[in-house]
């Protein structure tokens, strides 16, 4: 990733100067260590704010929904797939967006870094593909980046954007051979009682802040089912059934649409493992309908179509 700093700035500058886009969305340095924040650039003089490193974790496809301006957006493999899903669903106009592909080898999971620091506060950090250097009041530690990547990145199959207009750098990097459904398979091998106990334990800490929903590019409904009051489908309480139903229905809504970008898990303040739930939806759709989300802008959303020969072994 090193040395791409100039390429991304040049690409953004060119797009803005030539009038191809009105706005470039990328990443800039956040206000706290190990944080980046989305950056909106309208003036080519501001392109120096742009950065690209393994802290650039936000899924920028989120900001393309419902926009009229012509937008150039930096996308990792997963962000590009999110954008493709939104284009296929008619939420983003393909002609109004320039996808600038980034070569990604994974983004860091700050929760994993915090877990090895025993509560010591990071005051400054530098990150590259090889190592993360964290500095605090009276310590400095070097951590290998590959051990602190997000779970989604560790089994990511699409590091190269599936669809892009401009590609920065070389199309990357080897893709891992780990089993992307390992956690799901492990749960499936348990009994129904054990699975229920697992999800009760995992989801009962949910505080219904909805940050998982708000950060997700696929959650673009003008009114979410949990906010609806007429009819009020499900309660807004922290009764276990209400919380579990929120997560079940969200994973149903995302089945065949989620691209496992990991944004929801990263944003969760309670550290809930949302991935095993969403990954199951992905697996169901892959096994039943041979569909993978975000591969082709022309492909119809999987749950809005059918085949005569769809399996119906569950019908009695």
């Amino acid at each position: 990733m090193e040395g791409l700093g100039n390429s991304i700035k040049e690409a953004a500058e060119r797009l803005l100067n030539e009038g191809d886009v009105d706005l470039v969305i990328g990443y800039e340095r956040g206000t706290t260590p190990l944080r980046s924040t989305p950056c909106f650039i309208r003036d080519s003089g501001d392109v120096d704010r742009l950065i690209w490193d393994p802290t650039c974790d936000a899924n920028l496809a989120k900001y393309l929904i419902g926009q009229d301006a012509k937008i150039g957006v930096f996308v990792k493999g997963c962000d590009a797939r999110s954008a493709v899903v939104c284009i296929a669903e008619g939420q983003i106009d393909r002609d109004k967006v320039v996808l600038i592909g980034l070569p990604c080898s994974g983004v860091v999971d700050r929760k994993k870094i915090d877990s090895v620091l025993d509560g010591r506060e990071i005051l400054d950090a530098t990150v590259d593909e090889e190592k993360i250097t964290v500095r605090g009041e009276d310590f400095e530690e070097e951590l290998p980046t590959k051990n602190f990547l997000c779970d989604s990145c560790l089994s990511c199959r699409h590091r190269t954007p599936t669809v892009y207009d401009i590609m920065i750098g070389d199309t990357p990097t080897e893709e891992p051979d780990t089993d992307e459904y390992a956690e799901v398979d492990e749960l499936e091998s348990m009994t129904a009682e054990e699975r229920w106990a697992h999800f009760v334990e995992e989801l009962s800490s949910c505080i219904r802040c909805y940050s998982c929903r708000n950060v997700c590019p696929m959650c673009y409904c003008k009114e979410c089912f949990v906010d609806e009051t007429m009819p009020a489908w499900f309660g807004k309480t922290n009764d276990l059934s209400d919380t579990m139903i929120y997560h079940i229905v969200r994973s149903l809504h995302l089945a065949g649409r989620c691209v496992d970008c990991g944004a929801c898990s990263r944003s969760c303040p309670m550290g809930i493992d949302l991935r095993t739930l969403l990954k199951k939806g992905e697996k169901i759709v892959k096994e039943r309908f041979s569909f993978e989300a975000g591969m082709d802008v022309e492909e119809k959303p999987v749950m809005s179509v059918f085949k005569q020969e769809d399996s119906e072994e569950f019908v009695i």
Partner: protein, 151 residues
């Protein structure tokens, strides 16, 4: 409030009977249930029928909400594939139900609580058989607890 310590429990404890909500499509399954009725075919009285225009009218919300409200079982039935009054409603519904059923099972809800079937308007006999089968299965599971609000 009533005074005294007299228990209001009935003298004979009735055997638990499951309550099952059945979403039946207007064109096939509801008519199939109707045929069972006019033909005087017996089936257990545990189901409460909700008539819907098409099986694709049945949102996963209906099913999950039913479970949350404490229904012990859910039955959804529509026209056989290829015979939908609206051409392909049941085929769209089939995909949706497949994902819902897999997902509920994954969470740990007993798979037999939620049942899907195709019943045509001519299948009164089969409808009564289906209801008996579903009631048997839900009876074997006992009262619902998972996803029930307040439990």
């Amino acid at each position: 409030m009533e005074q005294g310590s007299v228990s209001k429990k009935p003298a004979v404890v009735e055997e638990w009977e499951p309550r099952i909500i059945a979403f039946l499509c207007n064109w096939c399954s509801y008519a199939g249930a109707d045929l069972a009725g006019i033909s005087r075919i017996q089936y257990p009285p545990n189901i409460r029928v909700v008539r819907v225009p098409c099986s694709s009218r049945v949102s996963p919300y209906f099913i999950i909400k039913s479970l949350q409200r404490g229904w012990d079982g859910v039955l959804v039935s529509g026209c056989h594939p290829g015979e939908c009054h609206y051409i392909s409603g049941n085929l769209i519904a089939r995909r949706r139900f497949a994902v819902l059923k897999d997902m509920l099972e994954y969470i740990g809800v007993e798979p037999d609580r939620v049942n899907f079937s195709w019943i045509s308007a001519a299948e009164g006999e089969r409808f009564s058989k289906l209801v008996r089968e579903v009631v048997e299965k839900v009876k074997a599971l006992g009262p619902a607890h998972r996803l029930v609000k307040g439990e």
